[in-house]
């Protein structure tokens, strides 16, 4: 497994060279994606269209830089492509576009779509008697979309245990802290009330993440991963201002220096 630092460096360099993008919500995703792509998901980088692969729906599509770095480091495409993020014709679209890049299981970017799509995929896999699973990563601000809760209601009703939802609980959205814009707590209670099994973990601790994923229940599982938006870069951490802003050269230098 590559180290979280490598992924974070990629993310910062990519967004810097693109001149736009979303560092905060990409940096908070790193350990979750590392776990998924190195430990959890059955995938084959040489055969990205393998029918029985596990699938990921990154419902918070603006976290694309993190996913692109992970896919490249995992061997889906060459790492030197990473610096073409958001450039015309590069395939590394601002938000994931599955026809443009190998390894993407779904196109996303408009919040609130992913959980329903993941549910449909999971249902299709069940009908096909495939053992493959579907993982869906949601932003915490994204949970304000009503459509999420429509899916949250149907997934337990259809007993869809081949789907695992992960909430990137970084407590910040675009404008401000989630608590200030539109509170979503008590969050675990809400999911449980809808019929889910809830696991919590430190979303930056690989051991803790693994433990959360190892939960086996007869209900669909949602993992609430406590994370830090902008994780690893002091001046970006917990800052809504760094939700969608590219670091300039000086900020990039400082940020890279800080990474552990």
């Amino acid at each position: 497994m590559v180290s979280p630092k490598v992924i974070r460096e990629d993310i910062l360099r990519m967004i810097h060279s693109a001149g736009s993008g979303h560092p905060g919500g990409s940096l908070s995703l790193v350990e979750i994606l590392l776990h998924l792509y190195w430990k959890e998901m059955k995938i084959d980088p040489d055969n990205p269209q393998w029918k029985d692969r596990d699938r990921l729906v990154l419902s918070k599509g603006h976290g694309a830089p993190a996913l692109y770095s992970i896919l490249a480091r995992r061997g889906f495409f060459p790492t030197d492509k990473l610096e073409t993020l958001r450039k015309f014709g590069s395939g590394l679209e601002g938000h994931p576009h599955m026809q443009s890049l190998p390894g993407l299981d779904c196109s996303t970017g408009s919040l609130g779509h992913g959980l329903g799509i993941a549910a449909g995929m999971a249902l299709g896999l069940t009908i096909r008697k495939s053992k493959a699973r579907v993982f869906c990563i949601l932003g915490d601000g994204e949970l304000q979309e009503g459509s999420i809760w429509e899916s949250a209601m149907s997934i337990p009703a259809l007993k869809q245990t081949n789907l695992i939802a992960i909430v990137d609980r970084n407590h910040v959205q675009l404008d401000d802290a989630v608590d200030k814009v539109m509170p979503i707590e008590p969050l675990a209670y809400k999911w449980r009330a809808f019929g889910w099994a809830v696991a919590k973990c430190d979303g930056h601790d690989m051991v803790d993440i693994e433990k959360a994923f190892s939960n086996r229940t007869d209900k669909p599982l949602v993992i609430i991963a406590e994370t830090v938006k902008g994780k690893g870069v002091s001046f970006m951490e917990d800052q809504a201002l760094w939700h969608g802003k590219a670091p300039d050269s000086e900020q990039l230098r400082k940020a890279l220096e800080e990474l552990e």
């Binding site: 576009h97 601000g141 304000q144 959205q173 969608g244």
Partner: protein, 309 residues
């Protein structure tokens, strides 16, 4: 050069000053739509309802029913698209005084790519009964569109962008629903444009003029209701019409102009717009070039069609 977003925000501030019924609602994109300025000035009349566009549209329907003039703003792709059923059934069906600000209209949001580029918003708002659709061409005109909306009885959709565009109008030139503007007159052809494409159309007219082709350029700020007097006048002075829009060809300005002219004053009408495809990442200029939204494309179509005639 200023983004029309700046004019939208200035308009909201002036509207808030002028009319205490004005309320501004946003969906967790207030730093992108620019409504933070309104929040600062009128905190008691600003509400951020989070990432929930459909709920935001319903709140505005309710606020309008309670006697207010709510403006909700988010990216145009979500403002018009995500909440379309709410706009159709609650806002338009009850003919409510809701104003919808569609930010990042067209390709202006460049690098964010297909999911964030609103290329269908004009079509899906224009099709709704009772709706007024305004697509201003520069910042001053956008400010005026916001102010003009205060006088309209019923829902209004205002599209604006974040990419700087040339300034064409002075601050006091008003926007009137059902009125466009003839910016340049020539009889070989006419270009009817809206939004960011108006400045591009003027560029194309300059290029053509150097080749001895004189075209009219009309700014169709009010896509609904259309300026039918202007269309009739243009059909009197020219045989060839080219429409230019930062939007799908289907259902937008080309659709609106074609619908009217085919019935009342038929002329050859050629579209410049996005041809049945999604957007992609790139600078706004790259995406516009890719989609054929350039002065070259407009002048090329005029030349080619005139030659065939």
């Amino acid at each position: 050069m200023r983004a029309t977003r700046e004019g939208y925000v200035e308009g909201l501030l002036d509207a808030g000053e002028k009319d205490r019924r004005v309320i501004v609602v946003d969906g967790d994109v207030s730093r992108s739509t620019g409504t933070t300025a309104f929040q600062k000035k009128f905190p008691e009349r600003f509400f951020n309802l989070g990432i929930a566009e459909q709920n935001m549209a319903e709140y505005c329907a309710g606020l309008a029913l309670a006697g207010f003039i709510p403006f909700y703003s988010t990216y145009a792709v979500f403002a018009a698209g995500r909440a379309w059923d709410q706009i159709h059934t609650s806002i338009c069906n009850m003919n409510l005084n809701v104003r919808i600000g569609g930010a990042h209209g067209g390709t202006s949001v460049g690098p964010d790519g297909a999911t964030h580029q609103a290329l269908e918003d004009i079509a899906i708002t224009r099709v709704l009964p009772n709706m007024t659709v305004l697509v201003p061409a520069d910042a001053n005109q956008t400010r005026q569109a916001v102010l003009a909306s205060l006088e309209i009885d019923g829902p209004v959709y205002i599209r604006y962008g974040r990419n700087p565009v040339a300034e064409l109008y002075n601050r006091d030139e008003t926007v009137v629903p059902g009125r466009g503007r003839l910016l340049r007159e020539g009889r070989h052809a006419c270009i009817i444009a809206a939004g960011a494409m108006v400045a591009t159309a003027l560029e194309a007219a300059d290029m053509l003029s150097k080749k001895g082709i004189e075209v009219s350029v009309a700014d169709m700020t009010s896509i609904k209701p259309l300026d039918i007097q202007l269309l009739k006048y243009l059909s009197d002075i020219t045989e060839l019409v080219v429409t230019a829009e930062d939007h799908q060809i289907t259902g937008g300005l080309f659709g609106a102009v074609s619908e009217y002219m085919s019935e009342h004053c038929p002329r050859r009408i050629i579209p410049v717009g996005v041809n049945n495809r999604f957007g992609c990442s790139g600078t706004p200029e790259e995406v516009m070039t890719h989609c054929g939204l350039t002065a070259d494309a407009i002048s090329g179509k005029v030349e080619k069609t005139l030659k065939i005639h």
